[in-house]
């Protein structure tokens, strides 16, 4: 079994929201690190969870799968999940997988934290 990949995932609280911000590439090797950070963030029962993807330079399907898992947890726990700050390259992957309409996606972190998001 391969080890988890080395990406940094910053987690902070802003006005009751958990902001999970991975930095770097999220591929097959790195996705488990993001998955663990998201699960731990949900466990703390935030008012909402924001995945700030501004630092993600690459995303493959394991990253998408991790976010789909987070969406399922979000629905189960009734914790709103908002993605924000997707680069063009990352957004393209969501569009190829036709997942861009499934998630709530905000332009930036400020918008993602807004109650309207």
């Amino acid at each position: 079994m391969a080890e988890k990949g080395p990406i940094v995932v910053n987690v902070r609280q802003i006005d009751g929201a958990a902001v999970v911000a991975p930095e770097g590439e999220v591929g097959y090797h790195e996705a488990p690190t993001l998955r663990q950070a998201l699960r731990e963030a949900f466990d703390r029962k935030p008012a909402r969870l924001v995945a700030d993807l501004s630092g993600v330079t690459y995303m493959a399907t394991p990253g998408l799968a991790t976010l789909v898992e987070a969406l399922q947890i979000s629905k189960r726990t009734q914790t709103p999940l908002v993605l924000c700050a997707l680069s063009g390259r990352v957004r393209a992957v969501f569009e190829i997988a036709r997942l861009h309409t499934v998630f709530t996606i905000a332009e930036d972190l400020q918008s993602a934290l807004s109650p309207k998001a």
Binding site: M1, A2, E3, G5, E25, G27, Y28, H29, Y58, A60, T61, P62, L64, A65, T66, V68, E69, L71, Q72, G88, R89, A92, V93, I96, A97, R98, L99, V102
Partner: protein, 162 residues
């Protein structure tokens, strides 16, 4: 395929090395003339294909061998695309069973094959004669279309699915 490849990479089935291969493919694709967006998608498709070999062919063993070969396609003396071949010695599967899942079914996983078919012009899965699988993908310059000539065959030269 008798001509030597323009690029050949042999790697173990350890996902730690995927980042290096996708950077290589992305960089070379841009250098030969693919626009940045297409080069990123080519690298993504190769990354997904290699990850599928590691995950499903070698069942996450990290000591398997994978061969990636890239051939330049020229038309009228000018670069017109890449033929990319990935071979392994992992578990064989019936090529007709390699399908992308229904995208309306929102659940984790099963998107890699969809992305490969979406990005590439031609996608062909085959069983190798001895062991493992061979995936041949063609990406043409200027094309931004989903694979239309996708075929699946086994070593006996079996059928083609549309």
């Amino acid at each position: 395929m008798n001509a030597p490849p323009d690029i050949a990479v042999e790697l173990s089935s350890n996902p730690a090395y995927l980042c290096g291969v996708r950077e290589l493919v992305n960089l070379i694709s841009r250098r030969v003339g693919f626009p940045d967006g297409q080069a990123s998608k080519i690298a993504l498709a190769v990354d997904e294909a290699l990850a599928n070999v590691m995950n499903h062919g070698y069942l996450r063993r990290t000591d398997g061998r994978i061969w990636l070969r890239i051939y330049r396609i020229d038309a009228q003396g000018a670069f017109s695309g890449f033929r990319i071949i990935i071979e392994d010695e992992g578990r064989q599967v019936d090529p007709s069973q390699i399908k992308s899942r229904d995208l309306a079914d929102i659940r984790p996983g099963g998107l890699g094959v969809h992305i490969i078919r979406e990005v590439m012009d031609t996608v062909l899965y085959e069983k190798r004669e001895s062991t493992g699988m061979r995936l041949t993908m063609v990406k043409l310059l200027g094309s931004d279309a989903r694979a239309t000539g996708s075929c699946c065959t086994d070593s006996s030269g079996g059928g083609c699915r549309g």
